[in-house]
Structures are given as structure tokens and as C-alpha cells.
Symmetry: C2
Subunit: 320 residues, 2 copies
DNA sequence: CCATCTTACGTTACGGGTAACTTAAGCCTT
DNA sequence: AAGGCTTAAGTTACCCGTAACGTAAGATGG
């Protein structure tokens, strides 16, 4: 007991005793068992469960980096869960991670299975839903409005005179942010008298090569396409390279627009038309909101971190 | 007690009782507290501490993905630690994560602080050191021989007739895999009568833009450089784009070689000279070795997952 | 019908840290 | 020197799940 007091520095012991305790700590290589402390209910754990769809997608790796670095400065640890974009994986992971008594959870996406939602409500711990801005979150939410970002891109492309537009992305079991971007995009394009003539949703990962062959498939199916909007920048780069390989000039023969503004854009001579989101900041903000809630500070329920359309030069630069 | 038996399905209860227990589980929304089980010492935890330098570097994101997915199939969770390439961060993280009684640790790199090494030895749990192959690991090791991979690249470039070669990378407090690649590279180049005339180690992250401006600095300092070896592919892409921006023809005016074979290479029309390592497989293998040890299977101490030099077309294609 | 076995369920104790309380020792005051 | 006060250190109980053991009821067999 006295040793416990010394280690926590709460006072009530003599200097002589302190030294003796610290000596024994060194001799025994003693490491406290935090499990016991948390288990006894005297303190909360410093685990934060963090669910991320996948790390092959650079944007999520950046979000996770932002979260973990910020949590680390508060002495908290991320317990990772890669949910592969499925609600079932997420539900299983939530069940497991809750049994470890985490201090809170940060979840990517706003769509959860009914059982998952129940567990989250019952857990009585802070939950931050990230990525998709959610006006009625379980607890807290930080992200952007994906529908709006898709809408803005649709409006931008149609303002340049594009009428026949294609989309290349990937398909998922459930609605997700990319779906919402596509919905916003279609609404804007159709509202401006254009048409999203072909939407390709590949059963693949949203990375470079699917962007490449997806472009081939799209152009084979709809030759009159003037411009392609991609699920993300990686797929758009794949599309750019397909065009280069086939001698299609961008933006003269075809326009290319991505989403997410990957770091590689910083060195490309031709700026990819895209939409910038500060992924690192998103992650940091999520961690800050979590820590704010855990220290009983007032925390906003929803935080919109915003996006910025990047006109770029892979689309024509004015209306025809 | 009977409830505990029902929940673990170990038998010794009647069907009637089972139903009653399950009803109450539903009513109460009961979730077991795994902390108590582990704390009581009846079982090990299912945490695996995973330290990764940073996630901005795509290769580490892939390694982590490989680890976490594989661990997930065994019902284990990763507790993440981003150590930012410093031993002090790693030591602090190890101390914290050990206090949570993890079942094992997976650490990136073979160089740890003395205190960290002590803690790891005393912890009595499996440790897998990844990335750098370590012939005398603390416990287990999986990765590649970075010195050799640098050496092979040096030999390859000199075999093409390159004599004055530059290097662009980043600097770190302590020796790391990139340093070993550079050492192997220099040894091969010098052994073949060439010279690594300038080595630029930037105080920055090993990403695209530092590759871009690092190239500018390098060429300004040493105009006679014929070929540049980069710490990784991201920096090499930055270099490629610098050359494109300045009208330098690759490989006619200058040769460019990276390391790591990033996914974006799959869609580039010009194959980047690089070195392929299966990062995902590395992560999976690390997780498999960990699980093997935890289930008392015989596990090899060291696993070399190998690398493959990619000749590419960003260096001249035969000796002069 | 009693001895023995089996099954179902209950009781006790433990793990490591700490809150709350108790005891012991040292110090001062009158 | 007895009483009151302060400080240091010790004791007890608790957190929750489960191993180990105990017990009661029912089944089986001779």
C-alpha cells in the first residue's frame, strides 16, 4: 500500500521509504499492472478503440496517424480495428473492443448495424463518428459533408461545359461516404442539364490499378464520355495513366477529376482536379474531441472540418 | 458462476438454465469484462502491441494492414504505437503498453534503448522485430536484409556504367533500415570503382515533396551526378517530377532509382527502378509468427521474406 | 431401499491496485 | 506526564470472472 502511494506520488510517506521503494522497483524491474487499476474501477482505461475501413487507402492512413499522434500526447493508445467497409466486421470488432473497457471509441462512418448501435449506446463511453459528417450522431461527429463535396464537383465540371460524364469507383455492401459523393455529384450534374451517363462500381479496392482498368471499361462502354469523376485520387491517377498509355490527351480529349488530394499531388507538374480535405487534421480533431469529452470540457457535437475544391488542370479551364 | 459457465459454453448446466441466463444477458445488455479474466490470470489478453514509425510512409501502412488483418482472424487486436523513428518514443510506448499486459509485441526495427530492451526481456511475452532482419533478435524477427538490398542496387547501377551517384534520403537520430541500405549501397558502388559523391539526408519526412526539393539541392551541390538513389519510391517520384519540371530527361540526362515498389508503380507507363518488398506479406508473416508462438507451435527465429530488384526504365538499360 | 455415481448448481478464494479506514509512532502543549 | 494532534504506515474490502471445491438432488444398480 505504501508502495502504491509512493508510485503515485500522492504523499503520506517519508523520503526514506520513497527511496527504499524506488530501489525495489529497480531491482525487481517492477511494472505496474494497469489492468488492475482499471478493473477495480478506480480509473478509466487509456484505450481508445479506432475503427478504420482499410489502410491501403492513403487517406485513412493519414486519419489514423492524426488520431494516434494526438491521443499519444494525452497518454492514450489506439486499439485498431480494420473493418473492411462492412458493418458485420465493425459489429464484431465493437463487441470485442468494448469487453476491454476502452475509454472511448472513434468510428469511421455513420452507418452501424442495429446491434452495434445498441452496444454503443449502452457502453456509456464517448463515441466520435468521423469522416461522414453526421448531424444526429450517436455522441459526437467530425468530418465533412460528402454529398456537398460531390455536388460542388458536379457543379464545377458542368460549369466548364461538360455534359456527358462518367464515374469510376468501387462498390460496398452499405451506403458510405463515396456513395454520398456520387449522389451529390449526380444531383448537381443532372440539375445543370448534364448526365452521368455511366457509373462504374468495381468490386475491388479503391486504388491505382482499379482506376486504370476501370477507365478502360468505362470508355469501352460509353465512348461519348467527356469527363470522368473518380472515387478518389488514387483511382484518378490510374485513369490519368490509362489515358497517357492510350494517347488520350488530358484535358483536351478527356477530363479527369479525383477526390481527396493525395500527397503525391504536391510534386505533379499537372495539378489533378480534386477536392482537398485535411485528413490529418480530421484525425487530430477527432482525438481532441474525444479527450475533451473525457476531461469534461464542453465539446461541440458536430465539427465540420470543411473541404476545398481544387480546380486543377486535368479538366478544361473554362466553359465551351 | 453458473452464468459464467453458460457464457463460456463449458457445460455443466441445464438447457432451462441456459435459456434463463441468455434472457438476462439480453435484458441487461451484458458484455463480459475481459479485463477481469486477464487480470485473474486465467487467460492471456488478446492485445498485441504494434509499433510503427509513421503512417505517412505507405509501406508502413501496408505492413500494419497485414499485421492487423491477420491478427484479427485470430481474434487479437493491435494496440498501435507511432514511434516517429525515435527510441525514446518507443521506450515510452513500450512501458505504457506493457502495463496493459499484452499477449505479445511487434516492433519495427532492431534498435531499442537499453531500458526498452530490459523491459522486453523481463516481460516474458513473445516479441517479433520486423522490417530489419535481425540475426540475433530478442525473440523472433522477420524482414529483409536492408544492407544487401542497398548493395544489390549499388551493384546494379554501377553495372550500367554509372560512376558518380547521389543519394537523397532523410536523417534520423538512430541507425535504421534506410541507413543500412545506404551503407550497402555505398559499399557496392565504391567496390565497383564508382563514388557516392553526395549524400543528402534531409531533416524531413521521407515523402514526395522532400524528394522533389532534395533533388534540386543535390543537383545544385554536385552537377556531375549521373544517377540518384532515393530512400524510397515516394522520394524518387518527387525526384522524377523535379526532373520533368526542369526538362531533364530520365534516364538520358539522369538515372533515378527508388526503393519499396509502391502501388502507384502498377499504373506508371515508365517503370521506376526500385526494389520490391511484399509489405503486406511481411506484416502477415509477423502476425503469424506471433500467433504461432502463442499457440506453442514451433516458430522459426528469423524469417527472411526477401526482396526483388526491379530494373525499371528510369536508369539507362545497359553499360556504356 | 440403500450405496454409489452423475449432474446441476452454489461457495470460496484469488489476482493487483487502491479507497477508506485503522493503528502506531512521533511531537507538542499545558 | 497525560492528553491531543500530526504524520507514516498497515489493514480491510472491493472490483469481476473463474478454478477449485462443496453440496444437494436425481439417476442407477444390486
Amino acid at each position: 500500500m505504501t508502495a502504491s502511494r509512493v508510485l503515485r506520488g500522492e504523499g503520506g510517506y517519508s523520503e526514506k521509504t520513497r527511496v527504499k521503494v524506488m530501489e525495489q522497483v529497480d531491482v525487481l524491474g517492477y511494472l505496474p499492472n494497469r489492468l488492475a487499476t482499471v478493473f477495480a474501477g478506480d480509473q478509466n482505461s487509456t484505450f481508445i478503440g479506432v475503427s478504420i475501413p482499410d489502410l491501403g487507402n492513403e487517406v485513412f492512413a493519414q486519419v489514423l496517424e492524426g488520431i494516434d499522434r494526438k491521443l499519444g500526447t494525452f497518454g492514450y493508445q489506439s486499439v485498431l480495428g480494420l473493418t473492411q467497409h462492412t458493418q458485420q466486421e465493425e459489429e464484431n470488432w465493437i463487441r470485442t473492443v468494448l469487453s476491454w473497457q476502452p475509454a472511448g471509441l472513434i468510428l469511421t462512418g455513420r452507418y452501424h448495424s442495429p446491434r452495434a448501435t445498441d452496444m454503443l449506446r449502452n457502453a456509456g463511453i464517448p463515441v466520435v463518428e468521423i469522416w461522414d459528417l453526421n448531424s444526429s450522431p450517436l455522441d459526437m461527429s467530425v468530418g465533412i459533408n460528402h454529398f456537398d463535396s460531390g455536388f460542388d464537383m458536379g457543379r464545377y465540371l458542368t460549369s466548364l461545359g461538360y455534359q456527358n460524364i462518367g464515374y469510376v469507383g468501387t462498390s460496398h455492401d452499405t451506403a458510405n461516404a463515396a456513395t454520398e459523393r456520387l449522389n451529390g455529384f449526380c444531383k448537381a450534374v443532372e440539375g445543370a442539364g448534364g448526365a452521368v451517363v455511366k457509373q462504374l462500381c468495381l468490386h475491388d479496392t479503391a486504388t491505382y490499378y482499379p482506376g486504370f482498368y476501370g477507365t478502360e471499361q468505362l470508355l469501352a462502354a460509353a465512348r461519348d464520355i467527356e469527363c470522368i469523376f473518380y472515387q478518389n485520387d488514387a483511382m484518378a491517377f490510374g485513369g490519368l495513366q490509362y489515358c497517357a498509355a492510350k494517347g488520350l490527351s488530358v484535358p483536351d480529349d478527356i477530363g479527369i477529376a479525383g477526390w481527396g488530394d493525395l500527397p503525391i499531388a504536391s510534386v505533379m507538374n499537372r495539378r489533378l482536379t480534386s477536392c482537398h480535405v485535411s485528413h490529418l487534421k480530421l484525425g487530430q480533431k477527432a482525438a481532441e474531441m474525444m479527450m475533451g469529452r473525457l476531461t469534461d470540457e464542453p465539446v461541440p457535437t458536430c465539427t465540420d472540418i470543411g473541404f476545398r475544391l481544387i480546380p486543377g488542370s486535368t479538366v478544361r479551364n473554362s466553359g465551351v
